[in-house]
Amino acid sequence: MTAGASYHGQPVIKAPVWTWQIPWYFFTGGVAGASAGLGYLCELRGDDALARRAWAAAMAGICVSPALLIADLGRPQRFLNMLRMFKVTSPMSVGTWILQGSAASTAIAAAHAWFGLFPRLARVAAPAAALLGLPLSTYTAALVTNTAVPVWHEARRTLPFVFGAGAGLSAGAAALIGADPATAAPARRLALGGAAMELATTTLMHRGLGEHGRPYSQGRCKHFDQAASGFLAVGSALLAARGSRSRTAAAAGGVLLLAGAVSTRWSVFAAGRQSAADPHAVIDPQRAGIARGERIGGARTEPVARDAAAPAGPAS
């Protein structure tokens, strides 16, 4: 670590003010989104038992998610202000609308799967929920990477895949808990495949981050990251070995995988706080970009003779 200049060691950027609700929402939003897809595909396949389990998980996720988000607001009673506009430059705005659509369509699809209600509406709502569930699972990565926090912003090409994989494994794992192993093969494949993808994409993200990824080897972030790897490895092994025969093993494996997905989201959240708190995480890469000649930076030492007609800019 280079020890360049900073202002009394003070952070350059502000750490996110988001609290515990947000990493949990990363998880519940993923459960809701991918479970809707799982439910719809199981219906297509004629696997109604598994479909009902998946729609229940989707419904649970989609009910908890808005509550978490509203609770995190500084002025919860003003949550409706989110609906004043639709703004592509704000993934939070886009996500608000995705969540609205997901909630409405998932509620109808789940009511149909469980109670046979709204049969005609559900024909549209179920595929809509399944489709909206996909961006619902990954837009949260766009949200955190669209910030000045180096460990998030520099992971903008990989973090959505980590969140997507985590959503898939969460949906599979949630559907496994309490299910009859004989009929839960698709959920098991989804859980195992998702867990493998989450481990792989997380490793890719850490490698791609390079020096920006320092938080993942320090402090709380490191502990969450190690816990995630452990939960995913043990859960996957248990599921692969006994998950197709034992209901208990499948449930235990599912719980372990869910814990893994939660831990990954907490490690990403903690990484952002640690990265923002470290002035050198912000300054050093910017300084290095200037030194390499790739960036001109914000400062200029040579004066420019300006007159009203001349455009602003450095002298040639």
Partner: protein, 297 residues
Amino acid sequence: MKLEVHTWPATYGEQAQPRMGFFTDTSICIGCKACEVACKEWNHVPMQLQGFTGNSYDNSVDLGADRWRHVAFVEQRLPADATDGGSLVQIAERGAAIDAGVQTYQEGDGVRWLMASDVCKHCTDAACLEVCPTGSLFRTEFGTVVVQEDVCNGCGYCVPACPFGVLDKREDDGRVWKCTLCYDRLRDDQEPACAQACPTNSIQFGELDELRERADRRLARLRDAGQDQARLYLADEDNGIHGAGAFFLLLDEPEVYGLPPDPVDTVRDLGSIWAAAGAAALALGAGLAAAVLGGRG
């Protein structure tokens, strides 16, 4: 990919005003903190005691919800023989005094004291404004960036989006607050409180184009006088925020004052951000289909 958000001057039509800003010339800042006080008084910014920091004379620490102007104090120890003039004996005496730790903090005693009043930059490409999901943050007819406190719901997205760490949430209030460039005073043809209170004219307020010309004349004078560390920060439009409404003349690297050397508006990468999120959503869809429809059991 760059999404241009033309909110000024285009959307204001005939009501558009010239872009107004601050030129903060830190070479004549005396660290009196009149700007901090005037800002608090005028804008009713609440008190927030942060204790005694030991960071030189700076006990307000940083910009935030309750500090819209912040005076930075940097004490730099210079080599004893670095100052011009004086005999070898005087230089040796000065060196001995520094070694013994008895020197006073005055010019020429081996300490260079930098002072700078920091403020919201009112960026041309303002990440805070672009990520705000409620439209609470908006661009005024003066080209400045202001939070509408009757709209803000405290989602906190602007806080980590700002490359300068300007915005923050006021804890007991729940909303985010920052410098408004005294929007209320500007509408009454008054200059912002900090600029009016500044006794040395370190904080200069005016039309941005005119301030930029003035700043370059000042930089040329300082360079001629041998201040080869002098530099303008955010005075041009070729940086990562496409220029700022508040820019600075500094006497050292920006990071010495707590400023990022190469601030970039995160929304410049929005194309790759949405592309990756979209690709990951498709990959998740493919994975779901493969798991459910692809297997035997």
